[in-house]
């Protein structure tokens, strides 16, 4: 005999829902979560203004939006002072010019080697005689002229005791006493740098003979018996 219908038996799984549930007791009754009836129905309190002359150490405890704000200061941006860079755009050139004014006040040396501008200047292929402060002369063929402002130099080649000798001489060096052109090149050289003259085929050899001839002629013209020799005994 069936006590209950099979339909009801199937619904038996919902029986637990019908049972009275035990109310879950809150573990912690936080006072923040409860609101008293009086507060719910009373009007919102108006925020009190902050007490004036609050000591400074309490200001840190206030929330950010309540802290007194620093007054906004718009300071003027000072104009830049005058710059020496606008006055002197190229200091390297200024230093070089000041040096040249001391080393070559008349501009004679400059004209003697500025072969692009002055026609009287030394040109590659010329035979040149240089006298130094200590009295030593050096003669040779000018192979090249290196125009670099204060560092302008020229390269001389000669043979001493049948050995090829080259000497690069700074034009504005105070050690250089005089530069004379002994002999001009026969024909205008087609190159600016005559390095091919180092080859045995084109080597000029020693220029001593030409230079001694030149000195003899010069002495005859000036009427002196002997050229003064400096620094030698």
């Amino acid at each position: 005999m069936a006590s209950s219908s099979p339909i009801l038996r199937q619904l038996g799984c919902f029986r637990s829902l019908l049972k009275p549930q035990p109310q879950p007791q809150p573990l912690l009754q936080s006072p923040l979560n409860r609101r008293a009836l009086s507060t719910v129905y009373s009007t919102r309190p108006t925020p009190k203004p902050l007490p004036e002359n609050l000591p400074e150490q309490f200001i840190k405890q206030l929330p950010l939006h309540l802290r007194p704000k620093d007054p906004k200061v718009r300071r003027p941006i000072p104009p830049p002072p005058p710059s020496p860079c606008t006055k002197c755009k190229d200091p390297v050139a200024a230093v070089e010019e000041a040096q040249l004014a001391v080393l070559d006040p008349t501009g004679e040396r400059r004209a003697l080697f500025d072969y692009r501008r002055s026609p009287r200047s030394v040109k590659p292929g010329d035979i040149v005689r240089v006298t130094f402060k200590n009295g030593d002369p050096f003669n040779g063929v000018c192979l090249s002229i290196r125009l670099r402002g204060l560092d302008t130099s020229f390269l001389l080649r000669n043979h001493l005791t049948r050995v090829g000798v080259e000497m690069a001489i700074k034009v504005y060096s105070p050690n250089v006493e005089s530069v004379e052109i002994v002999q001009r090149a026969q024909k205008r050289k087609r190159r600016a740098r005559l390095f091919y003259m180092r080859d045995p085929k084109h080597d000029m050899g020693t220029v001593e003979n030409i230079v001694t001839n030149y000195i003899r002629q010069k002495r005859a013209l000036s009427g002196k018996k002997r050229a003064p020799v400096k620094g030698r005994k």
């Binding site: 923040l32 405890q61 941006i77 005058p82 020496p84 390297v92």
Partner: protein, 295 residues
């Protein structure tokens, strides 16, 4: 900072070291927060006294150690303009030199022992558009009444007597002809360089079975037994140059305060146009006449 209160107020009454404490100074209590030691260091009653030596690991001792190598006065920010030569008219000697230019170098602010732990003069040079500056940096300049500067650097000095007043101009005549300076600048950048160029390694053979590794380094480290790892600091290929380099004891050959030109003997690291910081050489006696330049 507002205190971080725990979410549940139940925890509050518990006494905790992480909470806040009251420190009572001059009647008004100040609340302090943060982590503090459970066992604060005890001061020994034998280790107190004014005639005791300064402990070596203190900032005071560190400054004392540094005192002999710190310049008495500030340096200057300059720009490398190029190299040329100067002839000594008496001996006829040619001296290669570097031309530096000072551009509106002004004292921006100070660093003091009390606030920052050391004494230094902050200098600025050049000029920068205010629109290209951050607000904080612009405020730093305008608060001190200085026009915005392109370059800002610090120069350490020994004590507060070396601190120039803020806003004072440092001209080229701050340096004297004949004195010695140290020039500090970034070297020329060489990019990613191999070990032969960067560290001067020998490379490997052209032949004898070497293939494809003619310019590379050999072994990077020992094998098993020697640690089987690459030791820290192993010289390898990488970025070369663009590092700060100091050239010491450069003689000042020429000074032109009108054009802000300072000519120093020899070479200075870096390309043309780089920023060079010059200050009195620490390995030479300090310059005698230290009158501040007329601004």
């Amino acid at each position: 900072m507002t205190p971080r209160l725990p979410g549940k107020l139940v925890h509050l009454p518990l006494i905790s070291t992480w909470g806040f404490q009251y420190i009572i100074r001059s009647q008004v209590p100040i609340r302090t927060f943060g982590i503090r030691s459970l066992n604060p260091p005890e001061t020994s009653r034998f280790n107190v006294g004014h005639d005791l030596p300064v402990l070596k690991s203190t900032p005071t001792a560190a400054l004392e150690r540094k005192a002999n190598t710190l310049p008495l006065r500030t340096g200057a920010i300059a720009t490398k303009k190029g190299m040329t030569a100067i002839y000594d008219t008496e001996t006829g000697k040619r001296v290669p030199c570097t031309v530096l230019q000072l551009d509106r170098v002004e004292v921006v602010s100070h660093k003091t022992r009390q606030k920052h732990g050391y004494y230094a003069v902050q200098l600025g040079s050049g000029w920068r558009k205010p629109a290209n500056l951050t607000k904080s940096l612009l405020g730093h300049f305008t608060a001190n009444g200085i026009s915005p500067k392109r370059h800002v650097y610090e120069f350490r000095v020994k004590d507060e007597s070396g601190l120039l007043p803020v806003g004072q101009m440092v001209n080229a005549d701050w340096f004297q002809e004949g004195q010695y300076v140290d020039a500090r600048s970034n070297s020329k950048g060489k990019g990613f360089a191999g070990v032969m160029k960067r560290h001067g390694f020998g490379g490997q053979d052209r032949s004898h079975g070497v293939s494809l590794t003619h310019r590379s380094l050999g072994s990077a480290g020992p094998s098993q037994g020697g640690g089987s790892r690459v030791y820290p600091g192993k010289k390898m290929a990488g970025n070369m140059g663009n590092e700060q380099n100091t050239v010491q004891n450069l003689k000042i050959l020429k000074v032109d305060s009108e054009n802000g030109i300072v000519v120093v003997n020899g070479s200075v690291s870096g390309p043309r146009g780089c920023v060079v910081r010059i200050q009195d050489a620490i390995k030479k006696p300090w310059p005698e006449d230290m009158s501040p330049s007329s601004s």
